[in-house]
């Protein structure tokens, strides 16, 4: 089969304020007709830049400096803009990560598909509507006629991604580039979308490039996988060979760092890393005395988002639709001292709302939050900052960038809780404490005076953790602490959290949507769905022999590695 796409020693450079940055360094990638190629790499590896270069939609600062991109005989690197514009959408098209943002928010989705059809003279204005509805049917969207004039904000994330796919495939292109199509979607939706992409591309004999940071996804859905690191292709082989016998050290490191059933926490670390303390998660038996945290009948209601303002209330609208929406519906569970409890569920299941209430950042509608015997629910969230118990419950946030004040240096961020505490030590003692905490979380001292935007994702996560530990809390709520991190960094941070828990005798409430990560870190796990607890118990019981159908469905949705 002849090569559809043949990229030869491509180099792409970006002008940034710090001078020229070479994002992609002499890479060779080839793709046969009908083949599905996976490009895997961590952030900054240049995997997306390659595809943008191929489509020639690099932003203004990027330039292809050398190399060729031959697509069925045409060298795209030197093609004219008009010629490229004709190819894009008709011959080759692309789908992106954040589906809702990838659609024009104020234009009906049907019209957006029509625009592409009309642009590439695939349909006259009259029949464009019929062709658009056909495209929607093709991506298995229910009752496409109505959906035709819906707006993106009226559709779910998964539905939006289907529309983006319909948009991309409307003109029957030969090549589909999918850049992290399912990141940020729920596991179940992710499976449905990936199956859809593979079915459609196979049905039309199209070739696909799937760009992802998730090795498991690539393994499950691609014929061949290319691994990239810092702008270079380190290895390229069939998915069986990549997983069966990874040749390059970096590939092996990636393989090890990906959470997978049956692995232990320290298995994730690269081979050459020093052995961690032998204590294994399961071995620390939960202490029997009263639990550190006991949640009883926790409920959080939000008024139904009725469209009418108080005018409606004036006229007394019917009580039926007045019933408030229950984000958290009668949740009760315990967290023992020194125990790590996992809270798992898809987005919108109420796990974050529950954690916010436990952290007393949000007032519950009803229910008790007993922390070491005292019911925290009695204190309103507004005044809890001054409460002496405040320092004993801390939190690590999901998005490290958003949880650090852009104007505070790392040092000042870590010191913030210490400075607010009543018994605040003198200036140099504060600095000493910060350096001690930095050492604890493995943050190099010279980074303390840097601002957040001058730190990497992993370093910011460490600052977040150091800040949480500043006042030696008893309970730390971890709200998806590593979701935003690369796989290799995630492995290191998870091990760090585990060792800190053991050394400082804390308990964790670990909120996550990734079952593999929960299996590695937690003693017990609680599965939630639309505000209610579906199942809870020991990790291996729930994950190996799930009692409820929903849990089983969650587990099945995780892409399997080629055995």
């Amino acid at each position: 089969m002849s090569d559809l796409l043949d990229i030869r020693d491509l180099c792409v450079e970006f002008e940034t304020r710090k001078g020229i940055v070479r994002a992609v360094e002499k890479i060779d990638i080839s793709l046969k007709k009908g083949e599905t190629l996976g490009i895997v790499g961590e952030s900054g590896s240049g995997k997306s830049v390659t595809s943008y270069a191929a489509m020639r939609i690099l932003d203004r600062a990027g330039r292809i400096t050398s190399g060729s991109i031959v697509y069925s005989g045409i060298d795209l690197a030197t093609a004219g803009e008009a010629e490229m514009r004709d190819l894009r959408g008709r011959e080759m098209s692309m789908i992106f990560q954040n589906p809702r943002a990838a659609l024009n928010p104020i234009r009906q989705i049907g019209r957006q598909i029509e625009d592409v059809l009309i642009q590439h003279v695939q349909a006259t204005r009259a029949e464009a509507r019929r062709r658009a509805i056909a495209a929607l049917e093709q991506v298995r969207i229910a009752n496409p006629e109505e959906r035709y004039n819906a707006y993106p904000f009226q559709l779910s994330g998964g539905m939006c991604q289907r529309v983006v796919i319909a948009l991309a495939l409307a003109c029957r292109p030969q090549l589909l580039i999918a850049d992290e199509p399912t990141t940020g979607l729920d596991v179940t939706t992710q499976k449905a979308i990936m199956d859809l992409i593979v079915d459609l591309t196979r049905e039309h004999g199209m070739s696909t490039i799937l760009i992802t940071h998730d090795l498991g996804l690539a393994a499950a859905y691609c014929d061949r996988v290319t691994v990239m690191e810092k702008g270079r292709v380190v290895e390229c082989a069939s998915s069986q060979d990549i997983f069966g016998s990874p040749q390059h050290a970096y590939t092996r490191k990636l393989m090890r760092a990906t959470p997978r059933p049956g692995a232990l926490l320290q298995d994730l670390l690269p081979e050459d890393s020093p052995p961690q303390s032998p204590a294994n998660a399961q071995s620390t038996a939960a202490r029997s005395d009263t639990p550190l945290l006991r949640i009883e009948g926790l409920i959080k209601e939000y008024p139904r988002m009725s469209a009418g303002g108080w005018l409606e209330k004036l006229r007394g609208s019917n009580p039926a639709d007045e019933k408030p929406f229950r984000a958290v519906d009668d949740v009760s569970f315990d967290v023992g001292r020194g125990e790590t409890v996992g809270l798992v569920g898809e987005s919108g299941c109420g796990k974050s709302t529950t954690s916010m209430m436990i952290m007393r950042l949000l007032d519950p509608t009803q229910g008790r939050i007993l922390f070491d015997g005292t019911d925290l629910a009695l204190f309103p969230a507004k005044e809890f900052a001054r409460n002496p118990l405040r320092r004993r419950i801390q939190m690590v946030f999901q998005d490290p960038t958003e949880s650090l004040n852009p104007r505070y240096t790392a040092m000042r961020a870590i010191a913030d809780p210490i400075l607010q505490a009543a018994d605040r030590p003198r200036r140099d003692a504060v600095r000493a404490r910060c350096e001690e905490l930095a050492g604890l979380v493995g943050l190099p001292l010279n980074l303390l005076d840097r601002l957040p935007h001058q730190l990497s994702g992993g370093q910011k996560a460490r600052v977040g953790i150091a800040r949480a530990l500043a006042l030696n809390p008893d309970l730390v709520v971890l709200d998806e602490p590593t979701a935003a991190l690369d796989v290799s960094v995630q492995a290191v941070v998870l091990n760090l959290l585990q060792s800190l828990k053991e050394r400082l005798g804390m308990s964790y409430l670990f909120v996550s949507h990734d079952l593999h990560v929960v299996r590695l870190l937690c003693d017990r796990v609680i599965v939630m769905r639309s505000g209610r607890i579906v199942e809870q118990g020991k990790c291996e019981d729930v994950l190996e022999r799930p009692a409820s159908a929903y849990t089983r469905e969650l587990i099945d949705a995780i892409p399997k590695r080629p055995v």
């Binding site: 710090k18 950042l361 001054r386 958003e402 004040n405 607010q420």
Partner: protein, 295 residues
Amino acid sequence: MTDATQAASAHTSGLLAIWRHTRYVLGENPVTAFSFALFLFFLLCATIGPYVVPFDPLTTNTQSALQPPSLRHFFGTDHLGRDIFSRVVVAARLDLFIAIASVALVFAMGGVAGIAAGFFGGWTDKIVGRISDTIMAFPLFVLAMGIVAALGNTVTNIVIATAVINFPLYARLARSEANVRKEAGFVHAARLAGNSELRILFGHILPNIMPIMMVQISLTMGYAILNAAGLSFIGLGVRPPTPEWGIMVAEGASYIVSGEWWIALFPGLTLMLAVFCFNLLGDGLRDIVDPLRRT
């Protein structure tokens, strides 16, 4: 290094960083560099102007009234024979004062009220919203006139009037910026650290909206002087004979048709240059204050 020197060095390195960063920002954007130079020039006029000017800006000399620009009088003389160049230079002090004072006042009033409204919401938001709606409902210039006419046309009243009519602009901007940030991660983190709501407002949120406010501050400085000029045109401006660009343009305006174009033109050009400089200053100030731009 002992803690003390370390802290000191951190402090100086902080200042050094700001200076290097400022030089960097200026280097990168020539327009901003030009506006900074202009601003320094005006500051210079304001400070040492009165001691350097060739003539006393107030002495009249009816023999040499209405002379066109010449080597003796660079900008010519006005209808009372006073040297326009000296008056324009000396006026810088008063005009800069009006600009900076009204901006400071409106930032303190409008900015703080806006943040509180955006951050606390509830009734603070309603009150600030109502006040700014009421002020916005007035035709702004007539409101300024009303205030100055009612309280008397002193410079302080002109500053107060300018501050009042710009209040809604600042309140609305600050409110929307604070509203966006009030649920940010670092705000929750600050709460966890034990910061009281007020400390969060002023310690965390205010510094983060400074870059956006900087742009608005520079724009308002321009409008403040224009407003003073407008008031002078209808006789409510600064008390004569104090030199002020706005009133000089207003007085000179009636002489354009009769051919003495220089009386209004030079103060007008200087006024334009100043407002021009303030507007361009905004972008430069934002770059300096915005941490993200710091390499």
